[in-house]
């Protein structure tokens, strides 16, 4: 029985995703250069400290804009439901690899939804606080105390976003058959049945 393939993402969604991913790497590495002295060498990837400082905000804003595209496409499917609460209770089973104990999930499980909202909220915080100390354009318009808060919140949001992305990437590597959803747009029926049974049912209804 050769399992059929199910369309999980359209080409537009996939390209949108990869634009965000590339900009995340660019904005992330240039930002990390200023995060800790041990990471300042990363600024060399962008042509030195001054260029990293100049480019970082533009890459960050571009990432936020690209994410808005993703957000508009996916936010409805990421709204949290009561079933998600049940899933969270069993997240320990999930980590132990006991998939059988997990309640059936739709297109996204609670972990995926959590990462989605973590990214949305941290990107919003990064945008708002980043503008507040963006030299030389906007920084002077904000009082020094506000900028002190902005710098700290910006860095904390960046750490939250990076941790979210680490989880996101790891989950994709861990659950076999997931990466092709973003590289080819399709997943196998077996993958869908096992990891997103309700979504599988929805996709195969009437077929």
């Amino acid at each position: 029985m050769a399992s059929k393939l199910l369309q999980r993402y359209s080409d537009g969604e996939r390209m949108n995703h990869w634009v965000i991913a590339l900009l995340f790497i660019a904005a992330g590495l240039s930002g990390l250069a200023f995060f800790h002295p041990s990471l300042f060498f990363l600024s060399n990837l962008f042509g030195g400290g001054v260029w990293a400082r100049i480019l970082h905000p533009f890459m960050g804003v571009a990432m936020v804009l690209a994410f808005v595209g993703m957000f508009v496409r996916l936010w409805r499917e990421n709204l949290l439901t009561d079933a998600d609460r049940e899933w969270v209770k069993h997240s320990g089973d999930m980590l132990r690899g006991n998939k059988a104990a997990m309640p059936p999930v739709g297109k996204y499980n609670a972990g995926q939804k959590g990462v989605f909202w973590l990214m949305a909220v941290s990107l919003l915080a990064l945008l708002l606080t980043g503008i507040m100390f963006w030299q030389p354009w906007f920084a002077d318009s904000f009082p020094i105390l506000a900028r002190r808060f902005a710098v700290v919140i910006h860095a904390a949001s960046a750490v939250a976003l990076i941790l979210g992305v680490i989880m996101h990437v790891y989950a994709a590597i861990w659950v076999k058959g997931t990466v092709r959803a973003m590289t080819r747009g399709t997943v196998t029926e077996a993958w869908a049945r096992q990891n997103h049974p309700l979504w599988h049912k929805e996709m195969t209804r009437g077929k």
């Binding site: 050769a2 030299q135 030389p136 920084a139 710098v151 904390a156 659950v175 076999k176 029926e189």
Partner: protein
């Protein structure tokens, strides 16, 4: 100057390893005796001349303050405050504003560019422009609101305490130019001794609250003031009473950042070991599916 004086660097921005410590110099200080200042601005002119700075012609804001604020081209500015500490007794307090050269500099602590801000063993805090990336963090780190970012080149500027002159045993230009001896320069110890004499004089003249301004919140400063009203430094154009590095800056630049770096690396390592322990999640009939 940093490359010429690398043996004399006591602190370096965004650097986690200790600086060279073999050589130890004498700590210096500039003493500004506000009670002897006549507000002639010779120090401002000398600063412009020595450092070859020319600010734009400003406009009159109803006071003698000119320019109105510190700028990338004006590293020192006279601040004129008209106050009545005792009713009907007008006092004209004139304070030469500029970098205070903190022993624990907030600008240096908040700077992310290695070596863009240094503190020499003599206590002078200097901006090394070739390493400055123009991020403006020094502006948010400074408890005295001193550094200014240039709109032309996006570099940060402030008083260098004439580190180039001091490096060859000359006094700063402002000290050289002061006609009343209100600005003095020397070993910090000597300056504090001299300041104490001035305070004693002022007290004899009825300024009971006279004192030396050398705020301990930033570990002391290498620019110290003699104030007639040391109990109310705010009278002197808002000189902060108890300046210290904002907890927002010191916490984040202290423990939080290494912990956050550890958390990010830790997350990757945890993922690696989770995979090795639990193994991948595979679809049950994937073999057939892929066939």
């Amino acid at each position: 100057m940093s490359s010429l004086q690398s043996l004399d660097i006591a602190k370096r921005s965004a650097t986690t390893t200790p600086p060279p410590q073999a050589r130890r110099g004498v700590e210096v200080a500039k003493l500004i005796d506000v009670s002897s200042c006549i507000g002639c601005k010779a120090c401002q002119v000398a600063c412009m001349q020595w450092n070859e700075l020319r600010d734009d012609v400003g406009d009159n804001a109803g006071t003698y303050d000119n320019p109105r604020d510190l700028t990338p081209q004006s590293w020192t500015v006279m601040r004129y405050s008209e106050v009545e500490v005792v009713e009907d007794k007008l006092e004209w307090l004139i304070r030469k504003d500029g970098c205070m050269h903190c022993e624990d500099p907030g600008c240096l602590k908040s700077c992310p560019a290695p070596g863009a801000i240094v503190k020499y063993t003599n206590g002078i805090v200097d901006f090394i422009s070739e390493h400055c990336v123009g991020c403006g963090n020094c502006v948010t780190g400074c408890p005295f609101d001193v550094p200014r970012i240039s709109k032309t080149d996006n570099k940060a500027y402030k008083c260098s305490l004439c580190s180039d002159r001091v490096g060859v045993s000359l006094e700063p230009a402002c000290v050289k130019a002061c006609p009343t001896g209100a600005i003095r320069f020397g070993a910090k110890e000597d300056m504090l001794d001299y300041g104490a004499e001035r305070v004693a004089d002022l007290k004899e003249r009825g300024y009971q609250q006279a004192g030396v301004y050398d705020p301990s919140g930033v570990g002391g400063t290498h620019v110290v003031y003699v104030l007639q009203h040391a109990d109310k430094p705010e009278l002197y154009h808002g000189l902060p009473k108890d300046p210290k590095i904002s907890p927002l800056v010191s916490l984040w630049k202290g423990a939080a950042k290494p912990l956050a770096v550890a958390a990010m690396i830790g997350a990757v390592v945890a993922g690696f070991f989770h995979y090795m322990k639990v193994g991948p999640v595979e679809s049950k009939d994937e073999d057939k599916a892929d066939a």
